[in-house]
Amino acid sequence: MFFKFSAPVTLLGATAYVVRFKTSSSSQCSIFTGGGLSTATRFLRTTTTQAPVAGDDRFIMGEWTAAATMTTRAVTADDTITIDYGSASTSLVTPALSISNGGTYEVPTSASTAYIQKISGNVVVYSGGTLKVGSSGSRMPSTSSLTWTMDCASNVDFGIRIKAYGTFSAYGESKQRITTLTSNVSAAGTIIPVTSTTG
């Protein structure tokens, strides 16, 4: 969950900081820690921008600026060349691609495009996050494709994990998946008569 300041803040050099948090009522929520509040999970986002390169882990989530006020964030996975994203951590705690509430990672469905995604690390879609490839009304067209490779070093090092209330949807070109022969095919035969090629 990301809390965005009203304006960027420049910190002081040689100065120690902490992240503090509280609720107005007791027993409303808990925060992940390593064993106590002194090890609470937290990070700071800088204002330094850069494009991701091989080995980078990525986080996508909505930005909360005030009560009931969140700006959603959507990233369009427009890669057409192979970049092996992710730091190759096998831990689900430190995913290569983390999509949280308010965040969307979407592969587009433009025509005549061969989209590529290659990831070394886990993809985790948390509650409220969305990972999508097209939609029922906008499938990956027949002239385009997506090849998404989970670049494991050992079997099942990494995978795609969709948590409760996370969303993962993918719509490829609709094809006739299963049919039956309508007459015998001899060995070496190339002509295949079937019930239907189109469904």
Binding site: A164, S174, T190
Partner: protein, 486 residues
């Protein structure tokens, strides 16, 4: 493009690249198929599309990935190709939904292709182990280039029934176990219908899970062919198969029984043995075949409809009702084969046995004191009954009788082992304090009756009945020489 085997050779499943789609009913390949594939007759091969333009891949045939959806994850995979997945590790088994009963969101896979497990302990699709719910996997292809692993499994162990679980219209080929259906299924919201399973070591399996009552709701319309074993029913509880076609399986169509099974309107063609009775010796089984057909095909021999091949417990009960055995294309050995000591009960009611050998000629030698094979109204003919018991055949005789037709004709088959009708006793009601005086008219046959009887005199016994103070079978009387041709 993939092609399933259409013979009893499991390994004839193959894939070839498409050159052109010529029309709505024809495709041309870049190179010819290696094996012949039947498109007509009793075995019709499937053709399946292994390609999608949205692909999720592992790295290689031995280094794969996984997709795991927690309960209440919202997942839709539609026309997606997934390759190189699976392991035996929890949450990394392949494609897995952990949706529990009580979840509100759905897991849906439709028209996808899942191919090439990266580990032989992996799964194409794995449904939650407790109580799956709101899961739909339909019209998908599960295929392994190298035989191994499991295509689809539901293995839940919870005492609560699954709900809104649909596993219909999928094709599964070249796995160690094609589809494994276990767990508590009940109600119309749970369906696993019209599965096409081929080229697996075991096509459709149901294995007991602990002591939880297991019920498989209507699983119907499956086409299971070219596996080593077509169907394995080895799980406790009640299971049913309806309107399935089980053909060209190399070892058996249906094997290894436990629990209660109802096989309705299924066809067993061209399997090595249609039904293999080989239950666990301590697990009781009651199996009913209703309106089923068993025969060879024009090109594939089926040796027998039912083969008692290993030990069966004395309380094992198998019943065939209104079935056809060996019609059109006969069984090559016998309609009924007994090849192992048999202690159970095998009943055929109003069944047609059309093969030249209806029952193994030595069947009666393998029946023990508790074993009986009963054929009633055989070939649909009234009074055409017979019972095979230990070392004897018992039939009604409408020609030779004392007072009214029929009499009971007992044909012993051993000179040293007594033929006894103890499994078919006559019963009489006796009030307290009353005396029962049974009378039996015995005739020992002469040469003109078919064969002259040369055994010991017939004996009349009253069976043990502890309620009456009869603690053992008790001899009441022995026939005399006057029973010769009487």
């Amino acid at each position: 493009m993939g092609f399933t085997s259409t013979t009893t050779t499991v390994a004839q499943v193959e894939t070839k690249a498409i050159s052109t789609v010529d029309s709505s009913v024809q495709v041309t390949l870049g190179s010819g198929v290696t094996y012949a594939h039947a498109g007509t007759g009793d075995v019709v091969g499937e053709v399946f599309n292994l390609t999608g333009n949205v692909k999720i891949l592992g790295t290689s045939t031995s280094v794969g990935t996984y997709i795991y959806a927690d309960s209440d994850a919202i997942v839709t995979l539609d026309n997606v190709e997934i390759q190189y997945i699976g392991s035996g590790s929890n949450t990394k088994r392949g494609i897995e939904s952990a949706n529990l009963v009580g979840a509100v969101n759905t897991f849906t896979m439709v028209n996808c292709v899942v191919k090439d497990l990266s580990n032989s302990s992996g799964f194409g699709f794995y449904a939650n182990t407790i109580t799956p719910a709101l899961v739909s996997v339909t019209n998908c292809v599960f295929y392994n280039t190298t035989l191994g692993g499991t295509g689809i499994i539901t293995s839940h162990t919870g005492a609560t029934a699954a709900a809104n679980l649909s596993l219909n219209d999928n094709l599964v080929a070249n796995f160690s176990i094609g589809v494994n259906l276990n767990g508590l299924f009940t109600g119309a919201s749970v369906t696993a219908n019209n599965l096409r399973i081929s080229s697996c070591s075991t096509g459709l399996s149901n294995v007991s899970v602990g002591s939880v009552l297991i019920y498989t709701s209507d699983t119907s319309g499956h086409y299971i062919h070219s596996c080593t074993s077509g169907v394995l029913l080895n799980g406790g509880g009640k299971k049913s198969l309806t309107s399935c076609t089980i053909v060209a399986n190399a070892s058996s169509g249906l094997t290894s029984f436990a629990g209660t099974n109802v096989i309705e309107s299924c066809n067993f063609y061209g399997n090595s043995s249609a039904v293999l009775l080989s239950g666990v010796s301590t697990v009781a089984a009651a199996t009913y075949f209703n309106s089923c057909n068993f025969r060879s095909t024009s090109s594939l021999s089926q040796t027998t409809a039912v083969n008692v091949s290993t030990v069966m417990p004395s309380n094992a009960y198998t019943e065939f009702n209104n079935c056809n055995l060996g019609q059109t294309n006969a069984h090559t050995s016998a309609d009924i084969t007994v090849s192992f000591t048999f202690s159970g009960t095998l009943i055929f009611n109003n069944c047609v046995l059309a093969s030249s050998a209806e029952i193994t000629s030595t069947a009666y030698t393998l029946l023990d004191e508790n074993g009986i094979i009963s054929l009633m109204r055989k070939d649909g003919t009234a009074s055409n009954h017979s019972a095979y018991i230990k070392q004897a055949i018992v039939t009604p005789d409408t020609t030779i009788y004392k007072t009214a037709s029929p009499s009971l004709r007992i044909t012993p088959k051993s000179a040293s082992i007594t033929a006894s009708t103890r499994l078919m006793p006559f019963r009489a009601y006796v009030n307290s304090g009353q005396t029962c005086t049974p009378t039996v008219y015995v005739r020992e046959s002469e040469a003109g009756d078919g064969a002259a009887y040369n055994g010991n005199r017939a004996k009349l016994y009253v069976k043990a009945n502890y309620n009456l103070g009869i603690t053992s079978d008790t001899l009441l009387d022995t026939a005399t020489a006057s029973s010769d041709g009487a």
